[in-house]
């Protein structure tokens, strides 16, 4: 009987030892989730000072990244800038969904390739991209990689067709850092930035000659029509208007011809002009010396732009018009839609 009691008591004592909680564990804590042998990396800060961006202008984004296991433990740092139509604070989910394209997203990827070597690449590069990565500061020395934090900076020239913002829309800027154990951290620039409208026009070198035309010729009269003969290219990151104008006067060796923007040409040496982007005289617009709209439906273009190849002019001359060889200017204009 004693043996039975002893055996049972021994087992119960052992059970009691198992059942007592681990005191040291109860007085210490652990971070839920990711805390383990490798500490997670951290985005300490990211900032873009400018709150209004202009395409084809460069800006610097600064971001301090840290990792208690040293910067050498960081695998990648991915900086993204993207068009966010509804603004607000960007989420990590939005960040992850961003892909590089000339209109709506730019990505700079820093990759630690081993030792003290790394690569820094900007995308998009396809589609005639005009986004450019300028000077940048990334870890390059043993000292940098042995440290626990590093102030990264990237100088970026904004592409020509980066979407113009309006209303609540913003260009958001954020960075995500990933370490060797795939732990990540994400943070964003607090304010984002607006993007200004950008418009570009390319007009190949050319002149317009009507040759010989009769005094008093009206729009649509003999030889009054002249095709421009070259293609005009428009690029814009938002809505744009095509406009045209003439210089207020054309100067000859002896005489000066005056533009009549009313189109009546009642006075001596007056002329008037109409223009259309599809060679249709009934749709043609009477030009003035400040610029009239030929088409107000232009929308954001690709980097290649929109080309218009069929511009035509029609001229009208006063009945009294002195013969001369005239010099003047016809101008095509790109303007923001309003």
């Amino acid at each position: 009987m004693r043996k039975i009691v002893f055996t049972t008591a021994l087992i119960l004592v052992l059970l009691a030892m198992f059942a007592v909680p681990n005191v040291s564990a109860s007085t210490e804590g652990s971070v839920s989730g990711s805390f383990g042998i490798s500490a997670p990396p951290s985005v300490d800060s990211i900032s873009l000072t400018a709150t209004s961006l202009t395409p084809q202008t460069s800006y610097t984004i600064n971001s301090t990244l840290s990792d208690p296991d040293k910067i050498s433990n960081v695998n990648t740092a991915v900086l993204k800038g993207w068009y966010d139509s509804d603004g607000g604070a960007p989420t990590e989910g939005e960040f992850d969904a961003v892909t590089a394209n000339t209109q709506n997203g730019v990505i700079v990827t820093w990759t630690h390739t081993g030792g003290i070597t790394s690569t820094t690449v900007l995308t998009p590069t396809a589609g005639g991209s005009t986004w450019v990565l300028g000077a940048y500061s990334v870890p390059t020395t043993l000292g940098h990689f042995d440290g626990t934090s590093f102030p990264f900076s990237f100088n970026i020239t904004v592409g020509k067709v980066a979407t113009e913002t309006s209303g609540a829309g913003l260009w958001q800027w954020a960075i995500k850092v990933t370490d060797a154990t795939a732990q990540t951290d994400f943070d964003k620039d607090a304010e984002g930035a607006s993007m200004n409208w950008y418009g570009e026009i390319t007009v190949p070198s050319t002149t317009v000659s009507w040759g010989g035309i009769s005094r008093g010729v009206d729009f649509g009269g003999t030889n009054s029509q002249k095709a421009l003969g070259v293609t005009v290219n428009y690029k814009a990151n938002g809505a744009y208007d095509e406009k045209a104008k003439s210089s207020a006067s054309w100067t000859g060796a002896t005489y000066t011809a005056t533009l009549d923007s009313a189109g009546t040409c009642d006075d001596n040496n007056e002329f008037a002009l109409k223009a259309d982007d599809a060679a249709v005289i009934t749709a043609a617009v009477l030009l003035d010396a400040t610029g009239v709209t030929l088409d107000d439906t232009g929308a954001q273009t690709a980097e290649a732009g929109d080309s218009v190849a069929n511009y035509n002019y029609w001229i009208k001359l006063a009945a009294s018009f002195d013969s001369d060889n005239f010099s003047g200017t016809l101008t095509f204009i790109v303007a923001n839609g309003i």
Binding site: P21, S30, V203, N336
Partner: protein
């Protein structure tokens, strides 16, 4: 003879508007900037002149171009530029500030105004060229209020910051004023506004305000010249146990040395203040920045959320404060599954041992 006369008359009765010309360069120019974004709202007699309203003209051609700016405005409105005619080298760009002056006798109304950059062509013949334009809306209103703004240090002294004043409209900001003296007085149309104050390109203060017709408003912006950068909280320990939180911070002073400052760490647990601890002191905080760290551990870590914030103070004056950083802490359960399984196994072993003993006793007969 008749044929000769006819040939001579042709040039007389015809007007040639063409002359052979030298080869012109392509026109490849572009425009951007903030001018178009402004929804100008001004009152008669008001002048707007700020570098925040500008255009940028780009020359994407290889050759330099001469540019002339031309404005379109209603009568009694003058548009002026920091430069009106200029040369842009190949692949270059020029930024031009744009201002507006409304005459005292201007008639209220809504208008579209524009600035156009034209290439100055000097070729012979009718040359075709390119131009770029920005258009903006202008409203001339009849009513106005007055705003007096000044920027002060936390100690109350006037601070010579650069004040940028913008009107808020439709989610967008339109610049309406600028001062580099730390003070700004303007007549403004009624509406909502936003002020930012900068010192050496660093934002030191900002504030929203609304202004009503005939209202006179005084605003004092308190400028921050000391900042807490790089504030981070990193858990440290071994295995799954947290030993302490490593607090990293970098005080940055942008203006002038400040004496007798302290760094105070404020810790909350589950939203309630846990402690305020002085973790550093600076007999003089010089201009510039320097990183520090501090290892924090409470008397006892508990499961829950810890909020951390750092303030730089001198007495009751708060010079700077960081954003709050959170740390979620989870204490491991005191009884775990291994322990429970051990207990079950132990009980079973005990039961088996008792059963074996009873069986042996019965087989062995009564003990002596």
């Amino acid at each position: 003879m008749k044929r000769l006369i006819l040939l001579c008359l042709i040039p007389v009765i015809l007007c040639s508007v063409f002359l052979s010309v030298p080869v012109q360069a392509n026109s490849n120019i572009a425009i951007s900037g903030s001018f178009y974004r402004q929804n100008f709202q001004m009152v008669p007699g008001e002048t707007l002149s700020t570098p925040d309203v500008y255009i940028v003209v780009f020359n994407h051609d290889e050759k330099a171009v001469d540019i002339q700016l031309v404005s379109q405005t209603p009568a009694e409105v003058e548009m002026f530029f920091s430069q009106k005619e200029f040369n842009i080298p190949g692949k270059g760009e020029i930024r031009v500030d744009v201002g507006l002056r409304i005459s005292k006798t201007a008639t209220p109304g809504d208008f579209v105004i524009s600035v156009t950059a034209l290439i100055k062509e000097n070729g012979q013949g009718i040359v075709v060229s390119g131009g770029v334009q920005q258009q903006a809306r202008l409203s001339i209103l009849g009513e106005a209020g007055t705003i007096n703004i000044k920027t002060c240090l936390v100690t109350g002294e006037l601070f010579q910051s650069e004040i940028h004043l913008s009107r808020k409209s439709g989610g967008q900001l339109s610049s309406v004023g600028l001062s580099e003296s730390g003070k700004l007085t303007m007549r403004l149309t009624p509406g909502d506004y936003f002020i930012q104050a900068f010192y050496k390109d660093v934002e030191v203060a900002k504030q929203d305000f609304s202004l009503a017709a005939n209202e006179v408003k005084e605003i004092v912006l308190q400028a921050r010249t000391i900042f807490v950068d790089g504030f981070s909280v990193l858990p440290q320990g071994q295995g799954e146990k947290i030993a302490f939180a490593k607090i990293n911070y970098t005080p940055r002073n942008i203006y002038q040395p400040v004496k007798n400052l302290k760094a105070i760490l404020i810790v909350k647990f589950n939203g309630k203040l846990l402690e305020e601890t002085e973790i550093n002191s600076f007999s003089t905080l010089d201009v510039g920045y320097m990183g520090y760290n501090y290892n924090y551990a409470p008397a006892q870590w508990q499961t829950g959320r810890y909020d951390f914030q750092l303030k730089i103070v001198s007495g009751d004056i708060v010079y700077a404060q960081s954003l709050e950083k959170q740390l979620e802490v989870k204490i491991p359960s005191a009884i775990n599954w291994i322990m429970i399984i051990g207990i079950v196994v132990g009980v079973l072993l005990a039961a088996i041992a008792i059963a074996i003993a009873i069986i042996k006793r019965r087989k062995g007969g009564p003990q002596k």
